[in-house]
């Protein structure tokens, strides 16, 4: 299922969602070997950060709630990992975050020099008081951060958006106008909260957390649908995608690539191969191609 994305050839159209597994080269490679066309690294931040105390990630059965809190060694402390990655045989998408346009620029410039295949701006993470989210809910700030980062990097830029934006399409458009090469949607939804009634306490140590997995799929599909109408750059669609049929659905909404995070919990690391095969089988059974069905849900029926 070879796919070309912003000029790079990927062996499958499936992307590993940022923050899921991608903590070292060995696991990024394993995910790739298991059918992931584009593994994304855990978001890299401007300074060392331990993230929140546990509980940070809870399986709700039909999806997860998490407030990991953007742990990161900090962009200056990853020499060892970049060294190892320099000899890689697979593409990587480097996700980054910052608390200000300046921080985004600093991290992006440094990371760009390390030669990832793409840089993804996480302007949408809800799990931190000061980082990220502020950008992704406002078109002007989204534009500013994308425009500033675009100037200092030498690889394609992907803007990762949050469904918490009142009008995600306008954010996507602002990112496109600012030079983003692609949109990745969506980050976790909500945020939500789960309270343990016996201890009378929120379960997550950070109290609130982002929702992911099957329960947010309708939100992801709607966002991708809205974004597809608003922009002409390609979209990485994710949020609750667990099966080939889910992938077809978000492709029909307008996605070019399909991301998978939470489904690793439900179907194991081989979920990438499984979903790839399920997509091919469906396409073959319907005698069609990814290109033909992309955005199909936008065409009037009959």
């Amino acid at each position: 299922m070879q796919t070309t994305f912003l000029g790079k050839i990927l062996h499958t159209p499936i992307v590993l969602a940022s923050g899921v597994l991608g903590n070292n080269k060995a696991i990024l490679e394993r995910v790739w070997e298991n059918g992931c066309g584009l593994p994304t690294m855990k978001s890299i931040g401007p300074a060392p950060r331990e993230g929140h105390k546990n509980p940070t990630v809870i399986d709700l059965g039909n999806g997860m709630i998490n407030a990991v809190g953007l742990p990161s060694p900090g962009y200056l402390n990853m020499e060892e990992e970049w060294q190892e990655l320099s000899g890689r045989t697979f593409p990587i998408n480097a996700s980054i975050y910052g608390g200000s346009v300046d921080e985004f620029v600093r991290v992006a410039e440094f990371v760009s020099a390390k030669g990832p295949d793409f840089i993804e701006l996480n302007i949408s993470c809800p799990n931190s008081d000061k980082h990220g989210m502020i950008f992704g809910v406002n078109a002007q700030s989204s534009h500013d951060v994308v425009a500033a980062v675009k100037k200092v990097i030498h690889v394609p830029l992907i803007a990762k958006l949050t469904p918490a934006a009142p009008d995600i399409a306008s954010i996507a458009k602002a990112c496109e106008d600012a030079g983003a090469d692609a949109i990745c949607a969506i980050n976790t939804a909500g945020p939500g909260m789960v309270i343990d009634i016996e201890s009378r306490s929120p379960v997550l140590a950070f109290k609130k957390g982002g929702l992911s997995g099957p329960m947010i799929k309708p939100i992801a599909v709607r966002c991708v649908y809205d974004i597809f109408k608003a922009v002409s750059i390609p979209i990485i669609g994710l949020g609750g995608i667990s099966t080939g049929k889910d992938a077809i659905e978000i492709i029909m909404a307008g996605a070019t690539l399909v991301g998978i995070g939470t489904a690793v919990r439900y179907r194991g690391i081989s979920v990438f191969d499984k979903v790839t095969n399920e997509i091919s089988d469906w396409l073959a059974a319907h005698d069609t191609t990814m290109e033909k069905i992309r955005g199909a849900a936008h065409r009037e029926v009959r």
Binding site: N23, N24, A26, I27, P55, T56, D196, V203, R265, I269
Partner: protein, 283 residues
């Protein structure tokens, strides 16, 4: 009901104090369990951490905690009537061959916690011959002194009980003795399986010894964990996801596991040499 989903708040039924550093908390609830599996233990307002199930009967289980940091000290200070949140069990337990004739079990410090239910499960009339080697800093750190029918070979760092030295010395000796016994069938490995848990350096030595003697082994690893079910990546060790692929790993996997006995990730995700990381579980 205890599941892998939201933590179930359960009541500590009783506490067994093994020593000032070690205590076992018992919960009178059923839990699905295979020796080697762990649960995430939540103390609201404090933290949540993984602990091996060290005692198990159909309607009761226990976890043995060594008081080290904030969380484990808090856990050890709990008593009957206190509530803790439990989700799990997670991970794969030990593989237990039904046809094993002779096994060795090597425990260092609180590495005895996951191994104890394994030993109990093997201690049947039809079970294998068990060579059980237990080491600790000193006598008071030796867990479960009267728990097993199998004979325990004891070593302490300070010689306060048993052999003064390393568990691996005893393992070597046992392998040699077995080889002599087996002279007639020189190609038969000394043990069908060696199980080990303890400081990672100890487990690495056990693994090396086993490799040198053609003996398969299984060790139980420890890394900082968040989700416990293979999603967040906090616990990766090379290409292995410790919470999900492990925590028990067999020789075949250990051979290719880049970071085994060399590196671990801090909470930030930064990889550091093992000694910098501190083997929290069993020093």
């Amino acid at each position: 009901m205890i599941t892998q989903l939201l933590p179930a708040m359960v009541t500590v039924a009783d506490k067994e104090v093994h020593s000032p550093e070690f205590a076992t908390l018992y919960v009178n609830q059923a839990i699905d369990f295979k020796p080697g599996q762990f649960v995430m233990v939540w103390i609201p307002g404090v933290d949540e951490k993984p602990y091996t199930i060290s005692h198990h009967t159909p309607d009761r289980f226990g976890i043995t905690v060594e008081a080290k940091g904030i969380f484990s000290k808090k856990a050890v200070s709990l008593g009957a009537g206190d509530k803790i949140g439990i989700r799990g069990p997670f991970g794969n337990g030990f593989n237990m061959g039904v046809a094993y004739k002779r096994i060795a079990v090597v425990a260092g410090g609180c590495g005895m916690a996951p191994l104890a239910p394994l030993v109990e499960a093997f201690q049947t009339d039809t079970g294998p011959e068990i060579v059980l080697i237990q080491g600790a800093r000193s006598k008071s750190f030796l867990l479960y002194p009267d728990r097993f029918t199998a004979k325990v070979e004891i070593c302490t760092d300070d010689g306060s009980k048993g052999y003064k030295g390393f568990v691996t010395d005893i393992l070597m000796e046992k392998i040699k003795k077995q080889k002599i016994r087996d002279l007639s069938a020189a190609s038969v490995p000394a043990f069908d399986m060696v199980y080990a848990c303890g400081p990672e350096i100890m487990m690495a030595k056990v693994f090396d010894i086993c490799e040198a003697h053609g003996i398969p082994c299984q060790v139980s690893l420890e890394r900082y964990m968040r989700c416990g079910f293979g999603v967040c990546g906090a616990c990766v060790c090379g290409h292995a996801v410790v919470c999900k692929d492990g925590p028990v790993f067999e020789s075949k996997m250990l051979r290719t596991m880049a970071d085994f006995n060399t590196r671990a990730l801090l909470k930030t995700g930064k990889p550091v040499p093992l000694n910098e990381y501190t083997t929290w579980r069993c020093q």
